[in-house]
Symmetry: D2
Subunit: 291 residues, 4 copies
């Protein structure tokens, strides 16, 4: 299948590479050029505008935030105008529920299809085609996307027919990861100040109850206090929890732990840790404990 | 080995049964009699006082709270006085760090050994000899306990030499479970009010990132809204988070998520759910969202 | 001076009445007609559209929320288009900082002046010309507004030249009132469950440290548990704290108490108290305590 | 009246001085000697032990914390043993509800009277005989204390017959002051980051709604960022909020704002501000905002 791929960050490059490996034709576009060299070698073509990338009839966006998505979708050179009738936009970015609703409506009006397909997984998982894709959209559109998801995911789990439901699940999932990191931060501060070595504490946690890979992953970063380089920056964690809270606010759900976590991310930015790994909120818990 | 076993609640009966199965001699004692019938059939003898149970030289306590432990340890018929010199008290209860320090000192003064050996696992795990035991105490004392732990645990993870360090790990672990339940409660409220069915939401969470058994276990209870019967009551959750906060307070660690969770458990009691499963705090999140 | 006055709610009717009493000419407009009878008797004329009200050259808006303000300002019959060059729009509504910025820019582009002039005071204070007005805008525009503010306020306190600064102060002030209500709610629950009668508790608080009139006012409502009728509804409290948090979010300020209070207002709505006085959050504190 | 006075800190010296001025005979005792010189000049006698101070039949304690009170009350040289039958102990310290209950019971058993009489007011108010005394105890005991309270207070407000009720009110009051400080800290951070000068912000707050003297007092410290010297240290604020939470915990009241405030005080200690004025928690709010 021929697709346009917009957004060559750490996640996007891995995904685009796997689409190429699976035999798809990929026209890539990035706001700042020069990140496509490896992909060109692997067979990608370069699109000079979002519109050019969208000519293939399938446009995949994997961008930083709402603003970045809006800037490639709307406007004269945007994919909304450029997609052919019946074309499909697959949005993999973690964006607001509100923008997702707007995209759903805009593409429908234009006679196009819209699939929200956020993913779980860090850049290494993207590179290894081991992502989890959680798409939502019409059955027809999802069917069409199957070969693409198959090329990048270890598993695809359909959320439902309404695109925004996938965004809610993605935002809820990121909140759950973030709240686990925060709770780990508090628990590690307690353990350390009680004289228990962090690696020993981690070993017991992950050998007993807290056995999911992300427990080991973030627990390890916290135990080693190794917040650089960032797999996912604190400022992005702030963005995602903020989006989760906005989604909750719009449907009338109080989320007290999400508020605590949002405040921690905000304080992390305020105290100079904006570009550290988002698990750096555990460092704030340590500092507040006098560690 | 001959042991006295004090406390025949849901956890204690399973543990004592497995000690018998492994060939140990077990004298059981319970505050309210009549819970020992099955164990008697399986070979246990009945002790009429804590002191009588302690005569064996090894006394295991698995009781509800600090008060219950104090009442069997101290006083004329308590195990502190009854244990022979060199005897060992193995405390499996989830008790305060402060009481653990007191027990450590008291047994030392009496020329006895003290091992704190809390466990992770629900009653079914206790019955199936699948607990995780996380003991702390002197090397010599721990060595002596090995055959006992081997009879009841799928794995034993030594925390260290200071008994109270095991209590800190246990309390931190229970806090981490409780904070995950609270966060799940908030996330499920968000999902449901966004039109996503709870079972679908759970399936995606547990198929992707949240793959530890307790995610499935508590997520399932929340998705089915099945807070009866309680595997572990809300009022006990309150007790444990309170103990975690007390431990944190004594070493100067602020734990904002623990405070949120404590307030939820307190509100659960205030709103009439004291005896529901502790995951009932997810129901409060739903109620506060108008569900 | 001739002014157009838009918004005849509990606050607006009092303010418009005092403008008339002070000898100003007032053309009133309200979205739902029929609330102007008393004002007509007192000399007001009726405007059939926002544009007609704005013809006087000075338009005052006192409306429920952002949406209501947008609907009378923008569009074909809006006051932005209708004000003469050099005209002034005085916004007394509690609106978002973001909308205030947009109004500032829009009026400037149109060659008009914009003054943000929120007020502190409940409907009785509006009726008695005892409001506090906290305006912000250019010196010239503020000078022009002086006779109007003088007619409705016990005191006018200029915040500065940037209109939005007045909104920030108003939102911060409402947050401070709301957080005091929440803290009172918690403290009254503690006192009552400790066997201290609420009126006695209130008397001591307000006779010693908590001597501001709003302490007595909201403390009295809480002590009497008299949340009906609402002087200011819980759902409006939710709106205002939400706006304070949005303002804080946009400048990178974590406000943990504001988050707690927002969650309480959200829970108040979720638990059926949306139209009670906003001090009803104290009732939630009581309920969560088993009262 | 002849009284023994124990505890010559900033508060105690002022109170004892006013008792002397009013013509009472005062025997003073302090743990660390040498703070009584001025009082001696003014006519006080020195007691070498708590017991000696208590011989007068009336013992007033104004000490730092539970521990300090326990050390002068219990034991061989304590006032419990030294007071004559029918003697009275007036406790002005901010102590735990639990200790207050113990004192009530112990003095009753000894045939003595116990009055809990905490005060509101800073050291300057103590020196100027402008305290608010909020006593609780039997009518008979309170009647006896009247001339003493009259000598030190601008007003005496009886809480009730149960001594601990006075402690609850005192702790609740200190929580309400602390939560106002925290909320001010958040609001000032919002104002400053929004470009509003702190003194201007304060002026508007205190000229409109927030007109109690403590608003002006703490608001001024925050606006000037003048946390040294401490009128009341952060570490004592931590103690008092902790006691309020303990009291709430014992009667089943969740206090989410109190938890936030407690965590702030704990973080203040952790981040090196233990001996600053307790309003220093506003500085943490500023730091977390990047100020």
């Amino acid at each position: 299948m021929n697709v346009g791929f917009l957004g060559l960050g750490n996640m996007g490059r891995g995904i685009a590479g796997n689409l190429l490996k699976a035999g798809h034709g990929v026209a890539v576009w990035n706001r700042t050029p020069g990140r496509a060299d490896d992909l060109k070698t692997a067979g990608a073509t370069l699109a000079s505008t979002p519109a050019e990338a969208a000519k293939a009839g399938v446009a995949i966006t994997m961008l930083a935030d709402d603003h970045a998505v809006e800037s490639v979708v709307f406007g004269d050179n945007g994919i909304l105008r450029a997609l052919p009738r019946g074309g499909v936009h697959i949005s993999m970015s973690t964006i607001s529920v509100a923008l997702c609703e707007r995209l759903t409506a805009s593409h429908r009006e234009a006679g196009e299809q819209f699939v929200s397909a956020p993913v779980f997984g860090r850049p290494e998982a993207a590179a290894a085609a081991k992502l989890f894709v959680i798409p939502a959209g019409s059955d027809e559109a999802l069917k069409r996307c199957e070969p693409l998801f198959g090329a990048i995911a270890q598993r695809t789990l359909v959320v439902g027919e309404e695109p925004k439901s996938a965004n809610v699940v993605k935002l809820a999932g990121n909140f759950l990861i973030a709240s686990t990191i925060e709770s780990f931060g508090e628990a590690f501060a307690l353990a350390r100040k009680s004289g228990i070595a962090a690696p020993k504490f981690l070993e017991i946690l992950t050998s007993t109850v807290f056995t999911a890979p992300f427990h080991q992953g973030y627990g390890g970063i916290i135990a080693r206090e190794e917040y650089d380089p960032a797999g996912f920056a604190a400022v992005l964690g702030l963005k995602d929890v903020r989006l989760a809270l906005a989604a909750a606010d719009s449907v009338g759900v109080p989320m007290p732990v999400a508020s605590v976590v949002r405040d921690r991310f905000q304080a992390a930015v305020g105290r100079g840790y904006r570009d550290k790994d988002w698990s750096v909120i555990a460092k704030l818990a340590a500092e507040d404990s006098g560690l």
